[in-house]
């Protein structure tokens, strides 16, 4: 399913249609949206470099990470960053978004700013200038013709801190409808915004990918010690829910699971039986609540004190006085017409047991429901 997203980004925009757009949203309960964002970023970069994507360039609008972080990340992901100036531009809105460092440099307090390998942007409140710069950088990568480029915004949440929703929506809408934009994707922390903001951005998206925790009741760090194991599992994995909106209006919903590894985020299909849930329900306490293999075997060998052992063997009666060892159990013919009795070897008493099933013959033609008064 994550592959479906990457394929859609790869295929890009059709002539006369808006560019495909992806919202990746997460919450503090499962704050792995950035892992998904970087996964899509590395996949898109790989496809661009391989020439398999409609897009021939990528503009990353970086609000929450430095440009060097992205270049290091792409390098670790195996993407060739040596030629990065030919296919990627990072618009640096992280280092000096409000121009404070620029002012300090003018005062001689700080050395002059330079954002290595990136275009420094120091006025994040000016959305028009930001839009112009995105288009200018993209055109600088792919030229002015019909070749397209993609845009990635690492935090629309951070963008919304400086610019109202209407302007952010206008920016995204303009980019989607631009002739040279192949695709756009962005990250949003949905628990920071009210529903109106999240919904507005989802309306602008052809794909919405939600990162959710496995256990819906967990709320980030919980102080419940009993759920520590469950929380620890949740903080390495979660649910990945994607909604695709087709041009014809049809909506397709898909689900996967993800887990974080050394090399990044990995996606797997949802399993019917997820052992994590059952494991997670056993609280971590100092005494043992589970059975060892030996204990499970011994439990299976216990002869139950009623008739039907369920093992296909002839019916045996255990009255608590006979030995439990298998070799000491003699086979008794299952004669249903007789009651089974047992004489105590020590004398003094006996148990006479009349089975209810003795009253009925197995091949009786009687309908057992005949006595119902319906």
């Amino acid at each position: 399913m994550a592959d479906s997203i990457c394929r859609t980004i790869r295929d890009g925009a059709l002539e006369g249609e808006h560019a495909p757009s992806l919202t990746i949203k997460d919450t503090t309960a499962s704050p792995y949206g950035f892992g998904v964002f970087t996964h899509v970023l590395s996949q898109a970069s790989t496809l661009i470099l391989a020439g398999k994507s409609q897009s021939r360039g990528l503009v990353v609008v970086a609000y929450s990470r430095s440009p060097s972080f992205y270049l290091d990340f792409l390098k670790r992901s195996g993407v060739d960053v040596a030629s990065s100036q030919k296919w990627i531009h990072i618009l640096d809105c992280y280092t000096d978004p409000l121009g404070w460092k620029h002012q300090l440099a003018d005062s001689g307090i700080l050395p002059s700013n330079s954002s290595a390998g990136a275009c420094l942007f120091q006025d994040v409140k000016d959305i028009n200038k930001l839009q112009s710069l995105i288009l200018e950088l993209g055109s600088g990568l792919v030229g002015q013709g019909k070749v397209r480029f993609s845009v990635a915004i690492d935090s629309v949440t951070e963008m919304l801190r400086h610019v109202p929703l209407s302007k952010v929506a206008a920016l995204i809408s303009d980019l989607r409808s631009h002739d040279q934009i192949s695709s756009i994707f962005w990250l949003l922390h949905s628990d920071i915004h009210d529903v109106r903001v999240t919904t507005s951005l989802e309306y602008l998206s052809s794909m919405v990918a939600s990162v959710e925790s496995l256990n819906q009741s967990s709320d980030g760090l919980s102080g419940d010690l009993g759920n520590l194991s469950l929380l620890e599992q949740n903080f390495r994995r979660g649910k990945f829910h994607v909604r695709f909106k087709r041009r014809n209006g049809r909506v397709r919903v898909m689900n996967e699971q993800f887990h974080m590894e050394e090399s990044g985020i990995k996606f797997t299909s949802v399993t019917v039986e997820d052992g994590l849930v059952s494991q997670g329900l056993v609280p971590k306490v100092l005494f043992n609540l589970e059975l060892s293999e030996k204990e499970k075997l011994e439990r299976a060998r216990v002869v139950l004190p009623f008739e039907h052992q369920g093992n296909g063997k002839p019916i045996q009666i255990y009255d608590g006085r006979r030995s439990l060892a298998p070799e000491s159990m003699g086979e008794v013919s299952a004669d249903t017409s007789q009651s089974s009795t047992e004489e105590c070897s020590n004398g003094g008493g006996e148990i006479i047991y009349f089975r209810d099933s003795d009253d009925e013959r197995p091949d009786s033609d009687e309908d057992p429901d005949d006595d119902l008064d319906i």
Partner: protein
Amino acid sequence: MDSRARNLLDEALGLDQLTQLKPPLGGKAVLIEDCVETSGSFVLHQLIKRLLTAVPNSSNVVLFLAFANPFSHYDRILRKLGCNLGAQREKGRFIFVDMLNVECPVGEEGKAGGRSGLFALFANITKVLNALPESNRKCLTIVIDDVSLMEVAAHGSSDHVLDFLHYCHTLTSDYGCSLVTLNHEDIYSSMDGLVFLKQMEYAADVLVKVEPLATGLAADVHGQFDGLQMTVLNRGSLNNRMSNFQFRIKENSVEYFYPGARA
């Protein structure tokens, strides 16, 4: 017990190995959240003590922005923990910025000469950084006690505080220094306040919550410590681990132990 106790908190904060060559917190941003029932200030005290005294002749420098208490308060506490803040201050290893009763109103941004109080504070921080030798800048740890009072100083402008914290965060990328902030999670009841807290949580590399026990007050267990290292999200390398233990604050030290394992 003491060396074991150091390991639990050190592990939670990523302070496993304090050496002269490695930055103490590895350039991370640590957020400590506490509440009125259980104060998280002991984490700051322990951290300062570890940074200044764990490795002899280290290059570690602590820049402490004090919005909550005067220098004498911290000096008294750290003396009991075996750390002389006065001496460290004289050596230039503990830089105390007294922000008590200082107001940081939002300036007239955009106008010529317009400056805000927090912008001026950021300017002071960069001056301190530039005064350090270039190789030692990554050994600087900026500690803020606490962010809620910074909001008060900024006349309630949480946006301005977030801008300031963002710029402090960029210093961790630019110079490799570290940032430790303390905030109170139970003072925000409105949606805006919770948004402010969540913004800080998303930006943190290590998130720590200090809470009372779920079972209530206890004489020998003063609270529980939940920590999550989120470096997989922010620094690109997987070091995702959770910590959970309980603690008891004594006169001259703090005991840490796993639930039910108190010696």
